[in-house]
Symmetry: C2
Subunit: 201 residues, 2 copies
Amino acid sequence: MSDTKTRLLDAATRHFADHGFYGASMAGIAKDIGLTKQALIHHFQTKEKLYGEVLRHISDRLLSQILRTHSEVPGPRARLESLLLSLQQSGADNVHDTRLVLRELLDNKRRAERASSWYLKPFLDALIALVKQVPGWESASDSDALAAVYQIIGAIHFFAISEPTLTQMFGKQEYRRLGEAYPARLRTLIAACLDSPPPSP
Amino acid sequence: MSDTKTRLLDAATRHFADHGFYGASMAGIAKDIGLTKQALIHHFQTKEKLYGEVLRHISDRLLSQILRTHSEVPGPRARLESLLLSLQQSGADNVHDTRLVLRELLDNKRRAERASSWYLKPFLDALIALVKQVPGWESASDSDALAAVYQIIGAIHFFAISEPTLTQMFGKQEYRRLGEAYPARLRTLIAACLDSPPPSP
DNA sequence: GATACTACTTACCGATCGGTAAGGCGTCAA
DNA sequence: TTGACGCCTTACCGATCGGTAAGTAGTATC
């Protein structure tokens, strides 16, 4: 991919994350790197296609990076924990991506199907399979496994998008402390979730 | 408040939750209840003011209802649990509200300050104070208390907005089971969070 | 040197946006 | 009967939206 195209894609990711699909304008995205709207259209044809490319780009980053680098961690439980912690780290590093994922979830109409067949579904499937390998969870239903892991994902994503709000409410320093305390608490949260498997049917 | 105004406010809430501030149009909101755009403008002057009224309306509902009805529950721990569970119930009953809150968090620019001084701040302050009354948490810092409770809120809100996506991914029946399993798991999550206070300084 | 292609520009289009102006209609008061 | 007011309409405005058309500069191919 050409350098210009990559820079356009990055700018688009930022704008879509900041203002949503409707709030972001083609002209604004292009202007961000000193080009005109038509240069952007030249590379991506339509706004919808541009948005699709942005999503695909994010999906590639998240799924390949996270799912692959943890396949060698020994034991389902350790692997699950490592995977979720790196999801948190990834969310902290790439806030724009997380915010876009959340926006996708909120736009439940025509876009919900895109989100499902895209980012969340394969990810959740992998997590559910992993949970059911953890001792005590072998006979758990899919919904129980999903419920357990969904709470953790919620805790991760919600925190990831809250940086500006929390910073403003409690100050920069307090937020920094919060960011440091969070992974540790997340680890105990994961442990607690996995230590209390659902009653066997 | 007149009946028409209430209906306009409800329609606006729905549209803002579904499409965001920029995606929602004044004409579309008004048309939803068989009126013209100018009737809507007549009642609320501008789009910004309408949006502000929608937020205030939601804030009133959530804060008064949730915070007040649980002040009589005995003991900080039971009160905290009851409060969070009713937050979950409220999120399930009023999905539009939750989705609007999440959108507010995502629009971190000029709107973040509104979200903080509005819905989350008093709510979080109350929760932090409550956590620090729980046995074992008396000497905890604000950030530790906040981190603990923020995970739970994240788990609640993330699940509340996921209904359409989860339904589509796993089917209606599976989602129903998930919705039934969630409060129970939430209770164990809360217990786990409060049972592991941070190390005293 | 002609050709063709990529990368971009300016100029322009119709549609839609939020908002203004002015007026019609019903109700209530004087 | 008249005037004032609330509620809502049609008509219209400028700005901005995404997208099209046509053309220009640079570069590589032959």
